[in-house]
């Protein structure tokens, strides 16, 4: 008789990898063969996880069609099963899986669509937090601005792709324009994704604006972040960019090392 730990390991092997044989002597048949009984659990796991992934990656599902999506996620579930009992966290590495998945190698933009959908999910499920009150920054003496650092709001996600996946995503939303053909080589996108009144928003940034936002969200000081943006665009308007982020609520907090 197996220990509980051995039994649970064997059942997980049966569900995920069809390894039913070790359970032949442990599962009572009672009119239905033991592997028929195990198949019920396999179906439950795969169908519920497939539904969860379809909820998280609806655009990828539409792009490859539902049947192929079912096949791809079956492979994904076997290779990268959930590690935490929280479905909102499952799928973080789906884009990486698609990158290495031979049958979709010709769809070079597909992993980036998955990455964008994951960023949208992350923003959607992020914890609530107040946004930084711009008056708090206005109260800081200007000479201390260069060393200020910021904490991004938990919902803020930065996303960059060499493909126009923002337009692909928009076209596949309810009521989206599926008629217009999108040329996948027509240029990439740089986005700041966040949540406003619980709705997901996309803000399109240029290269310099994206460099600033990435640096600030990566806890770089304002001076250093500005230099990264200015290296791309010598005429970069820092005050306008910072005001815009403060007004949108990109940050939850800031730190002033001189205070």
């Amino acid at each position: 008789m197996p220990s509980l730990r051995e039994l649970q390991g064997a059942l997980a092997g049966s569900v995920l990898r069809n390894m039913d044989a070790p359970l032949a002597a442990v599962v009572r048949a009672d009119g239905i063969a033991f592997d028929g009984r195990l198949q019920v659990y396999r179906n439950n796991t795969f169908s519920s996880l497939t539904a969860a992934l379809k909820d998280s990656f609806p655009v990828v599902c539409q792009l490859v069609d539902e049947r192929f999506f079912g096949y791809a996620v079956q492979e994904y579930i076997r290779t990268c099963p959930p590690r935490a009992p929280r479905l909102a966290e499952y799928g973080a590495d789906f884009a990486d899986f698609l990158t290495g998945f031979e049958p979709v190698r010709h769809l070079a933009y597909l992993p980036d669509v998955a990455r964008l959908e994951w960023a949208v999910n992350t923003a959607y499920h992020a914890t609530d937090a107040p946004t930084l009150d711009p008056a708090r920054i206005a109260a800081v003496p200007q000479e201390r601005y260069p060393l200020l650092t910021f904490t991004p709001h938990p919902a803020v996600q930065l996303f960059e792709s060499e493909f126009p996946v923002d337009r692909i995503w928009q076209a596949h939303q309810p009521g989206g324009d599926l008629e217009t053909t999108i040329d996948v080589s027509s240029g990439g996108c740089r986005l700041l994704i966040d949540r406003h009144d619980q709705d997901i928003r996309f803000l399109t940034l240029d290269a310099a604006g994206f460099a600033l936002a990435s640096a600030l969200c990566g806890a770089r000081a304002l001076q250093e972040a500005y230099e990264k943006a200015a290296a791309i665009d010598g005429a970069f308007d820092l005050i306008a960019a910072l005001s815009m982020h403060l007004a949108r609520g990109t940050f939850a907090d800031f730190a002033d090392p001189a205070a």
């Binding site: 649970q8 442990v26 009984r37 796991t45 009992p85 929280r86 499920h125 992020a126 914890t127 619980q198």
Partner: protein, 297 residues
């Protein structure tokens, strides 16, 4: 008759106890309809794991909570896994409890995690002394961590282990006896498992310790033919069947009125269909309350 079946420690913890009426499982399809139409149901239950983040789900839950008592039903703690409980998961449950002040908190007599992999299903335990000790330790750890009593739900299952030595009903009752936890009696699960494994559903309900049962679940199930045999699958995808209503009436005759939840998770219908099921359950609860007061008089 409000909360007559809740034990004093649970009732005292919450300003908003679950009444001995029918409630519904709140799922995202019905967020807006529930908040806008405020259906005549006594309380709501949600899956805790869907509210660990913020944003829209939590905002809807808080809006609904303003109008209804709430029960938090967990599906991910995996009390039956031989291995450490996920303390991060427990901490998130505790934070959610503090935020939405549920009257009841429940989990399952099953397991979902092995070797660090989460199977997203409620798998059956072997009914052995070893498994009993594992789940009792985890129930105690959970109750200590949360600082409150939890309920555990009897599972539906599609297989039995040859080395089980304890009848399931005794296994479930013993968890409550050893840990002081309450029980969530899922009448549909009793029926499904009784049909699948050939045990007596009424005898199972007779074996439940009366004072421990603080909540009942009802749901629909599917019937699948496998070769010559039939297996009932607990898919929460249809109306409660007549046989389960009859078993529910028998359970109420033994237990008195107990807060009862209608669950519907696949092929989810429009809200009025779900509410109609709750109204039917309320009819059974009213009869059980009458029978009780007739006995008292």
């Amino acid at each position: 008759m409000t909360a007559a079946t809740a034990s004093p420690d649970v009732a005292a913890r919450s300003a908003d106890p679950i009444p001995a009426r029918a409630g519904i499982g709140l799922r995202h399809h019905h967020y807006r309809a529930v908040i806008e139409s405020r259906p005549p149901v006594g309380w709501l239950e949600v899956h805790s794991e869907n509210y660990f983040g913020g944003g829209r789900p939590l905002a809807f839950l808080e809006a609904a909570r303003a109008h209804y008592p709430l029960s938090l039903h967990g599906v991910g703690l995996s009390l039956g896994t031989d291995g450490p409980l996920d303390r991060d998961h427990l901490a998130r449950i505790k934070a959610l409890i503090e935020r939405v002040q549920p009257a009841l908190v429940s989990e399952h007599v099953s397991w979902s995690i092995a070797g660090g992999v989460y199977l997203n299903d409620l798998l059956p335990l072997p009914y052995t002394e070893e498994a009993l000790q594992v789940i009792c330790d985890h129930v105690r750890e959970t109750q200590d961590f949360l600082g409150r009593r939890i309920l555990v739900e009897n599972p539906s299952s599609y297989l039995q282990f040859a080395h089980s030595t304890i009848p399931e009903c005794d296994f479930v009752a013993e968890i409550s006896r050893r840990t002081g936890c309450g029980l969530l009696l899922d009448v549909n699960n009793v029926y499904v498992s009784a049909c699948n494994h050939g045990f007596d559903a009424h005898g199972y309900i007779e074996a439940m310790p009366r004072e421990a049962v603080q909540e009942i679940h009802l749901a629909g199930h599917a019937v699948r033919e496998i070769g010559e045999a039939t297996l009932r699958i607990d898919d929460h995808g249809s109306a409660v069947c007549d046989a389960v209503w009859q078993l529910y009436a028998a359970a109420l005759a033994r237990l008195g009125p107990v807060p009862t939840l209608i669950e519907w998770d696949s092929n989810v219908p429009e809200l009025p269909v779900l509410v109609a099921e709750a109204v039917t359950a309320d009819g059974f609860l009213a009869k059980a309350a009458e029978a009780r007061s007739a006995v008292a008089a």
